[in-house]
């Protein structure tokens, strides 16, 4: 909490400097938030190049519209809002101009080497993760935005309501719908965590015997 409040006061200081036209303060703001903006865009769009484009667009919009930032608005809320809106625009554009999706093999990332696991297990784990990620990709855009802000950016539900400028009840309902949808996908494709599904398989085998 202390670190968070320190970060907020640092944000306020930077905002005051940027209002006076301090470009170095703007650079510091970019360095501080570029990771969060990039990863939010990456989780929304699932493409590295496009996420980089969005990050650049977002900070350009921030600089161009800095004079319209109302006093008392939290700068991180404003940044997340611009990021989410830019991503929603791009997702809408994609919907109107559908292209061939990337094949699953192109985007599977192999996790770091661990001595206790065999290469086969690692590959299985990577494929399992990829299948869950593709279930996340299929979420409707607004549900995805709320899910990404909660799970990847660790924002509280109240903060998400502030970022998206929606009532808290709407955010809770949207997140509940997202969880239900993902639950249905996980159940359909038998995507429980590997250890859980293995123990379930073991139980089933015992029952059969």
């Amino acid at each position: 909490m202390g670190a968070q409040s320190k970060e907020r006061s640092e944000d306020e200081r930077l905002v005051a400097l940027i209002r006076r036209g301090d470009r170095q303060a703007f650079d510091r703001l970019v360095i501080q938030y570029q990771g969060r903006v990039y990863y939010t865009a990456l989780r929304m769009l699932h493409q590295h190049e496009e996420a980089l484009d969005v990050a650049q667009d977002v900070f350009l919009k921030v600089w161009m519209q800095f004079h319209s930032l109302k006093r008392g608005t939290k700068v991180y809320c404003w940044l997340y809002r611009i990021t989410v809106n830019t991503c929603l625009d791009r997702l809408r554009w994609r919907k109107r101009h559908p292209a061939a999706p990337l094949s699953e093999q192109d985007v599977v990332t192999i996790p770091e080497w661990r001595y206790e696991t065999s290469p086969r297990q690692m590959l299985e784990e990577a494929l399992w993760k990829r299948r869950i990620e593709s279930a996340l990709e299929r979420l409707p855009a607004k549900q995805k935005a709320v899910f990404v802000l909660r799970h990847y950016q660790n924002l509280k539900l109240r903060e998400i309501a502030e970022v998206l400028d929606r009532p808290l009840g709407t955010i809770k309902a949207t997140l509940h719908q997202a969880i239900h949808r993902l639950r249905a996908e996980i159940a359909r494709e038998d995507l429980l965590p590997i250890e859980e599904s293995e123990s379930a398989r073991g139980r089933k085998a015992k029952e059969v015997r």
């Binding site: 970019v30 570029q34 350009l60 004079h67 993760k129 996340l136 997140l175 993902l182 639950r183 859980e196």
Partner: protein
């Protein structure tokens, strides 16, 4: 599912993310221990979130945004429409000056030049100044008013006029013009309408 179950469903998300206040969380736990349907729903959601957590945990790796700042600065420098604080100040100063001039004209000027605004008011008539303001002069020159003979003149102001000195000065300045107008006024009498002829700048005979 009863009414209490639907309330629990609304609180379930906050409970799953440990954001429910403790007093409400106690009530919710109590309900879950009694209601099998809600308990099953809660367990399913919790298992789903545990599964998702394994995927959504961001690995601690470097942010692949190298060069973003340089590209951004280049973009800002090359775009002419980008906001710059000094430009904003340049835009603000003239608009402030314009607004000040407007406010001065509307609110302050009537007090500085009361002879202009008070002539047409009912209060002037209430003071007993029943003479026609511009006499037979229907033009817009506020310095002219008719005297008792119906001729345009600067004389005949009320006694409490606040600016007699200026008026005298103006009369001196306008004397030749007044003479000219007097002759035009006479011609107006012949034509029937003195007002139009007084304001007409065309000499008699043209």
């Amino acid at each position: 599912m009863n009414a209490q179950c639907s309330k629990v469903q609304q609180l379930l998300v906050e409970f799953l993310y440990d954001e429910l206040p403790e007093d409400r969380a106690v009530l919710l736990r109590e309900h879950l221990s009694q209601c099998a349907a809600c308990r099953e729903e809660f367990e399913w959601c919790r298992r789903t979130l545990r599964t998702l957590d394994a995927v959504t945990r961001e690995p601690s790796r470097a942010i692949p945004t190298a060069g973003l700042l340089q590209r951004l600065n280049r973009e800002i420098d090359t775009r002419p429409e980008c906001w710059r604080p000094r430009q904003a100040a340049r835009f603000t100063l003239p608009s402030l000056a314009l607004a000040a001039a407007f406010l001065f004209g509307v609110f302050v000027a009537p007090f500085l030049y009361p002879w202009y605004s008070s002539r047409n008011t009912a209060s002037a008539r209430a003071r007993g100044d029943t003479r026609p303001i511009y006499g037979n002069v229907t033009g817009s020159n506020p310095f002219l008013r008719s005297n008792d003979d119906g001729e345009p003149s600067l004389r005949g102001r009320a006694q409490d006029d606040p600016m007699p000195a200026i008026e005298e000065e103006l009369e001196q300045l306008l004397k030749p013009a007044t003479l000219g107008r007097r002759s035009l006024g006479r011609s107006g009498e012949r034509g029937g309408n003195g007002a139009g002829s007084v304001m007409s700048s065309t000499p008699e005979g043209f």
